[in-house]
């Protein structure tokens, strides 16, 4: 079954959503991610949605759920790269994604996560080696 890859970058996880997700794929992503946070003890999650042309209430709800679940598992979530047209539409729709942190780019999002981790008094690897952990969990 197709899935959205979750990259592990040191203490953080990076998800780049590029395809127009159907509902089952979105649900699967949510499950995969929760499992990864626990397995790697990740401190933060970056979700890059710059490739998404729309965010409807279903995907909006999924983002909200990810943020809430991550927070319980002590990981901060930052949604990055939302397109202007998507942001305007979400506001008009009445979906303001409360409780979700946002950043303009992956780089800026990463800075936010690092700062958070530093505030929490944790050592953060500066040169996190990128590796794709492609295998879906069983």
């Amino acid at each position: 079954m197709e899935h959205i890859p979750i990259l592990r970058m040191g203490e953080f996880l990076l998800i780049t959503v590029q395809v127009d997700m159907h509902d089952r794929l979105a649900m699967k992503l949510q499950d995969d991610l929760t499992e990864r946070i626990v397995r790697f003890g990740s401190r933060g999650v970056l979700i890059d949605i710059s490739g998404l042309e729309i965010v409807d209430s279903f995907i909006g709800r999924m983002l909200g759920n990810i943020a809430s679940v991550s927070r319980i598992l002590d990981a901060e979530t930052v949604v990055v790269g939302m397109q202007p047209a998507v942001a305007i539409t979400l506001v008009e729709l009445g979906l303001e994604l409360p409780g979700i942190r946002t950043a303009l780019s992956v780089e800026r999002g990463m800075q936010i996560l690092r700062r958070e981790a530093e505030l929490a008094g944790l050592e953060v690897l500066k040169d996190a080696n990128m590796e794709e952990d492609g295998n879906p969990p069983e």
């Binding site: 990055v80 790269g81 939302m82 397109q83 202007p84 047209a85 998507v86 942001a87 305007i88 979400l90 506001v91 008009e92 303001e96 994604l97 946002t102 950043a103 303009l104 780019s105 800026r108 999002g109």
Partner: protein
Amino acid sequence: MSTVTLSHLLRSQESSLLEAWLAEQRRSGNVRNLIADSDLKRQSAEFIQLLQQTVAEGDSTDYSSSTISREMRRFLDSITGDRAQLGFSPSETATFIFSFKRPLFEAIRTSTNDVTAQIDEVWNSSLLLDRLGLYVTESHQKAREGIILRQQQEMLELSTPVVKLWDGVLALPIIGTLDSSRTQTIMESLLERIVETGSEIAIIDITGVPTVDTLTAQHLLKTVTAARLMGAECIISGIRPQIAQTIVHLGVELGDVVTKASLADAFKIALQRTGFALAKRSSITAVK
């Protein structure tokens, strides 16, 4: 019998009617020196020919109600459009038609000694010219509306400059009233510039916004919320005392939006957040 007269008159006395009419138009001064003499002469001659056609095609006993032909409409629309563009008033434009009455009636009077025929003729031609004049007035109105609409759109595009104040700091000075369609244009251009420049702070300055009602405030909030979804913060500046009072009076919740009285104050905050500080040159050299 009298009907033949007008059609005939227009044809047989075409050149003398034209001369008299041109003299009349110059005398009444409605040309305002904005239309070249040669153009006026061409337009007047064309009108007389079209009028002749209209009368000839119409009901022979009562041409006053004859239909205004498509050629005539097109001609009238074109001269009205030109005049509206030049800033003529509707009455000035309509005078083009009405000023033809005097030379025409003059010609009718000298063409026959039968007083009843004269009156019939004058009445009929007057009705027809009145209808043409009204048509011109309506056409003028439409032309003006078209011009106003185009100007509005041009203003809309002109009125929303997004300027870069500093690395990572944008400013959007809004001038004029904020309505829905304008806010959408503003919102779009601001958010696009945020992405292009990677700016994390945008200052929306409303010094030039005359009044703020609930709707305007909501529009502003929507812009701030959309920017926040993308990862940028907005500061609203230029809030005048009475606008601050209105916002409180209307019960609009600005939430945690940062507001400042002046653009300068907002800029200072923006610099602080991006990690810069302002210092006087003398104090820097003193430190050295």
